[in-house]
């Protein structure tokens, strides 16, 4: 084998989440009353377009989650030697982006560096000028041809993307129509995103579409890599919050008495501590632990990854209180419902009442809270990394990009594109998630009046 699959901790958790998600989807598909609110989501044009955007992000994130180590040409006494660098399928797909690094800053679509340097020409004269980039626009003989070339490539790429999109649309059309999904918005969104992707892909082959950063890395590549970090923070954290909030919330609401008192004291105290302080303390402690035990990790990636997983854990421990409080309140209301009392009068055990009667009836709250929390967590990661207590500095994330941009914004002339790229990508991701969350809330919220439910 020319490679060795690597499963990092966060990858494993991501796979676990996907498996749970698919199992839940399969379970829901077979139950009409559970399917009903999802149908309402599917009928909502905004929700479906947001879902399409989210799916694109998710695809990038998933490809970036399949890690491996490539085999090196030399061998070690018959055994294969693998590169210490952990790559992902996504890295392989966009290899040119990853490898074509310039010397330092260059603006989007630039063919030269951003700063003047001393260049010696063929005659040995030393000039001070903007040197040409090694890769960006290197195929152009004259820098003046750039604009026309960019336009041509963009149009060609967009056309190719449009054609591919059209194929996808034609294939998906009947399927969409059969399910009476919002046809027109979804098809136009598919075409637009396909054209955009095509144009970007075709341009990225020859230019640095979003420029390069201080060490010459392509900013587009960095932004795409950041997606996985954001997704992991947004989803894996829920693995921690969910059991805590669910278990403690419904236990407090159902059993009342001292159980309720104890749980309430815990989450009141926890939410009174400034969470940034708590997170900072925990991350710094963990950092020291990791640094004193280098033997635990065989690659740098696994070290950075463990830090990411711990960050999720810490974020989870500090952010379960809100959901817990919501669930406690709902359970307090539910436990007085007559079907719970009917179950009690049958002598049904408390555990069974909790799992059969309470949990299914608070599921909508959990779902709404999870989808809404996702965007908050993605933003939290950015803030924490900016403060310096977020992910490992070697790990690419929106937060580290913004942190780096702190200095770039201060220099003259200003380097704006790294920050703008992080900002734009994060905005699109969070906006799509928020719009989707809104639609989910509308579909699941029992307080909203609906006529079809009355029959």
């Amino acid at each position: 084998m020319s490679f060795m699959p690597v499963v990092l901790w966060s990858d494993a958790l991501m796979f676990l989440l996907i498996a749970t998600g698919s199992a839940t989807a399969w379970y829901i598909r077979r139950r009409e009353h559970l399917l009903l609110p999802w149908r309402r989501v599917a009928q909502n044009a905004t929700a479906m377009v947001s879902l399409l955007v989210l799916a694109l992000f998710l695809l990038a994130g998933l490809l970036d989650t399949l890690h491996y180590r490539a085999a090196l040409p030399q061998s070690n006494g018959g055994g294969k030697v693998y590169s210490p660098e952990v790559l992902s399928v996504f890295d392989k797909l966009v290899e040119p982006l990853r490898l074509q690094t310039e010397k330092t800053y260059s603006a989007p679509f630039a063919v030269t560096l951003y700063a003047k340097e001393s260049i010696s020409d063929a005659q040995g004269n030393v000039l001070r000028d903007y040197p040409r980039l090694r890769y960006g626009g290197a195929h152009l003989a004259d820098a003046a041809q750039r604009d026309g070339d960019v336009l041509k490539r963009a149009l060609l790429g967009a056309l190719g993307g449009l054609l591919a999109g059209l194929l996808v649309a034609l294939a998906g059309r009947r399927w969409l129509a059969r399910r009476s999904l919002p046809l027109r918005p979804l098809l136009s969104a598919t075409l637009i995103s396909a054209a955009l992707l095509g144009a970007t892909a075709s341009l990225a082959a020859a230019y640095h579409v979003l420029g390069t950063d201080k060490v010459g890395q392509d900013v587009l590549y960095l932004s795409l890599k950041s997606i996985r970090t954001g997704l992991i923070i947004g989803t894996v954290t829920t693995l921690v919050t969910l059991p805590l909030a669910l278990l403690l919330g419904i236990a407090a609401g159902y059993f009342r008495g001292w159980v309720d008192d104890a749980i309430q004291y815990v989450y009141t105290v926890l939410s009174s501590i400034p969470s940034v302080l708590l997170i900072a303390a925990a991350v710094l402690m963990m950092q020291v632990t990791i640094e004193t035990h280098p033997e635990w990790f065989d690659t740098a990636a696994s070290r950075a990854d463990l830090r990411l997983v711990f960050l999720c854990l810490i974020l989870g421990v500090t952010s379960w209180t809100g959901l817990c409080r919501l669930l406690r309140g709902e359970t307090l209301k539910l436990r007085e419902m007559e079907y719970i009392q009917a179950a009690q009068s049958f002598g049904v055990s408390s555990l069974r009442i909790l799992t059969r009667h309470i949990v299914p009836n608070v599921m909508h709250i959990i779902l709404i809270a999870l989808v809404m929390d996702f965007s908050a967590l993605v933003l939290a990661e950015a803030v924490l990394s900016y403060v310096g207590v977020g992910v490992d500095p070697s790990m690419i994330s929106f937060g580290t990009m913004i942190n780096a941009a702190r200095l770039e914004m201060g220099r003259e002339p200003m380097v704006w594109w790294a920050l703008a790229a992080a900002f734009g990508f994060m905005l699109v991701l969070v906006l799509a998630a928020n719009l989707f969350a809104d639609a989910v809330r509308d579909a699941f919220d029992p307080r909203l009046n609906r006529t079809e439910g009355a029959a």
């Binding site: 009409e32 009353h33 419902m337 007559e338 079907y339 009392q341 009917a342 179950a343 009690q344 009068s345 049958f346 002598g347 049904v348 055990s349 069974r352 059969r356 009667h357 299914p360 009836n361 009046n449 006529t451 439910g453 029959a455």
Partner: protein, 630 residues
């Protein structure tokens, strides 16, 4: 005609074209009360909201006209309409607790109406507020003007609502189920108040209700609504003397009372159809036992039968033909007054049954501690049940009667040991239940089960019927394997009159009456000897209530069940109960056989309760007076 309000051909429909109010016409004269009578979902409230032009989103006015003193209401602009609302036409709602703003004093809320419609502002409005409150019978009105809604009881809040409605001196008062949320003694007072207000001002009133008793007390003329249409219109005397439409006849026949206790009630099969459910023919045809081929093909036209009387039924379409209905009127229909001692169903002696009791409760107390302060010290007790003793023999029904808050439901739950009793003993089939450990109690659970009031809250919406029925059996290890349980479930569904394929469906697919059947089946699943029925019919329509009462009676005969029937509805008590206990403030104030208690009540509270029940005799108003029970 001198009508204050004249509605003709009113149509209100949903966005998708489903008509929820379909071609309604009526007129109301000054000083007159027109009652819209109908079961839930028949479009009564939507008619009122259409007139106020306050329809909810997704519902719109689609035709017809409404003239208020010659002004077309649907031709007004929204700004002009605001003058009409509250000024010429006021409305009071069902739930007094929800229709007052809790953060404003009642005086401020009445003053708002005065400022808008009478031009009285600031301190000038204060005396008028107090005057209005005094007019609706609130004692010490001058002081209570400055109080907040939470300081008033439910009946008082409804009085405040009426005062607010009267503030604009409306020509027409729309009362949407004004007494449905109130206890029977309070209901009598509020109905009296509405009559007095009408007598004083000569305003017209549109009274919306599902209760024949309220109609008998307050209405001059009645429109009976069914599935969005008025099916019969008549004066009160005409309607109660000779109902024409088969639906109205059935409605009267479905009322429980003592005279019918040995026979099943004439329940109307099926349920009120959903809006738009029936597009062709008469809407009542599927439930009507006198329907013929024409009824399901052609919708009947409005037929004027006599002076001020009309009906929407094919039976009356040919002039001159008055088909007499088949024996549900006359002597049987009249509701005997308590004092007349008419010979009623003669079962049960005048003494309590000597048979050994199945359930014996003696001196049961349920107290809830009131805790205060940091250390949660107990500073007092709420005595919800305070020394109750009762016994129920096998195969008999004991009715527990009382108004809300008297502790009847708490007592039921304490019997089931869902709430631990503070003191006293519950002796069931020879075994003491109080103080049993959880495990020992579980083995006894099967013998005593409960049927709850609200069929919408008593079934878990996320479980299928089979799962709901199986839960109790699984918890109590009844039936060895799942196949045996499935057969048992089939028998249960047969017993309660549901189709066997119902077990794979979810509760939301059933109507209220069907859900109550499922709840009864769930209780029966573990073969109990005693069923505690907590107001099992109060959330149901009259025709469906009759179905459930019939079912309960049949089950009692078949399975020799005992019932503890908790209710506030005295007509139901007369129909179903053998013995009655009257409960007031946690104590039983009177007990005896149903006849003794209801014919010759001894305790003043029982007397007050009985005299407050509206009598359905159509003879006219029996003028009640406030007797300080509020």
């Amino acid at each position: 005609m001198g009508d204050i309000l004249n509605v003709s051909g009113l149509v209100t429909q949903l966005r998708n074209g489903t008509r929820i109010v379909d071609d309604i016409s009526f007129g109301i004269r000054a000083g007159e009360t027109f009652a819209l009578l109908g079961e839930s979902g028949c479009g009564k409230s939507m008619t009122a909201l259409s007139l106020m032009r306050l329809l909810p989103d997704g519902v719109m006015h689609a035709g017809g006209a409404a003239q208020m003193e010659g002004v077309d209401l649907f031709g007004l602009r929204e700004r002009e309409m605001r003058e009409v609302r509250g000024g010429r036409m006021a409305m009071i709602f069902q739930e007094p607790g929800l229709s007052l703003n809790p953060v404003l004093t009642v005086g401020q809320q009445i003053a708002e109406a005065l400022a808008l419609h009478q031009g009285l502002h600031g301190t000038a409005a204060q005396p008028r507020c107090a005057e209005l409150l005094a007019q609706v019978g609130i004692p010490d009105a001058a002081r209570r003007v400055a109080e907040y809604p939470f300081q008033f009881s439910g009946g008082m809040k409804q009085r405040v609502m009426i005062a607010m409605a009267l503030a604009g001196q409306p020509k027409l008062l729309i009362a949407d189920e004004p007494t449905t949320a109130l206890d029977v003694t309070i209901q009598a007072q509020v109905l009296q108040l509405l009559r007095d207000a009408q007598d004083g001002s000569g305003m017209a009133m549109l009274l919306i209700t599902h209760d024949l008793g309220v109609v008998a007390e307050n209405a001059h003329r009645v429109g009976v609504m069914y599935a969005g249409q008025i099916v019969e219109q008549a004066s009160r005397a005409q309607l109660f003397a000779e109902p024409l439409h088969p639906y109205t006849q059935k409605l009267f026949a479905a009322l429980p009372d003592a005279a019918r206790r040995n026979q099943p009630l004439a329940a109307i099969p099926g349920n009120v159809p959903p809006p738009g459910g029936i597009t062709q023919g008469c809407r009542f045809a599927p439930r009507c036992d006198r329907a013929w081929a024409l009824c399901s093909e052609q919708a009947p036209e409005w037929t004027v039968v006599g002076e001020g009387q009309g009906v929407r039924c094919h039976l009356y379409q040919e002039p001159g033909i008055r088909i007499q209905d088949s024996g549900v009127k006359g002597e049987e229909r009249g509701h005997p007054s308590p004092a007349c001692g008419r010979g009623a169903g003669g079962e049960g002696g005048s003494t309590l049954n000597p048979q050994s009791p199945l359930l014996q409760v003696s001196d049961l107390h349920v107290h809830f501690p009131i805790r205060k302060g940091v250390l949660q010290r107990t500073v007092g007790q709420v005595k919800a049940v305070d020394g109750v003793s009762l016994e129920i023999p096998r195969g008999r029904t004991l009715a527990l009667v009382g108004e809300s808050g008297c502790g009847k439901t708490t007592l039921g739950k304490a019997l089931l040991q869902l709430i631990p009793p503070t003191a006293g003993s519950v002796h069931f089939a020879g075994r003491e239940l109080t103080g049993l450990a959880v495990r020992e109690l579980r083995t006894r659970r099967a013998a005593m089960q409960m049927v709850f009031q609200d069929p919408y809250a008593s079934l878990n919406p996320k479980m299928r019927v089979a799962e709901i029925l199986e839960e109790g059996m699984a918890a109590l290890n009844i039936g060895n394997d799942s196949a045996a349980r499935q057969t048992h479930i089939d028998t249960l569904l047969d017993q309660v009159g549901l189709a066997r394929n119902a077990k794979w469906r979810y509760p939301h697919e059933f109507s209220g009456g069907q859900r109550q059947r499922i709840a009864i089946a769930r209780a029966l699943a573990v073969s109990p000897q005693l069923l505690i029925c907590d107001e099992p019919t109060s959330a149901l329509d009259v025709s469906v209530q009759a179905q459930i009462l019939n079912l309960l009676k049949a089950l009692q005969r078949e399975l020799n069940l005992s019932y503890l029937f908790i209710t506030h509805n005295l007509a139901v008590v007369e129909y179903i109960a053998h013995e009655v206990c009257v409960m007031y403030l946690g104590r039983i104030v009177e007990r005896g056989t149903a006849e003794e208690v209801l014919r010759s009540p001894g305790h003043p509270y029982t007397q007050a309760l009985l005299s407050a029940v509206p009598r359905i005799d159509g003879e006219g108003r029996s003028h009640l007076h406030d007797d300080g029970l509020g």
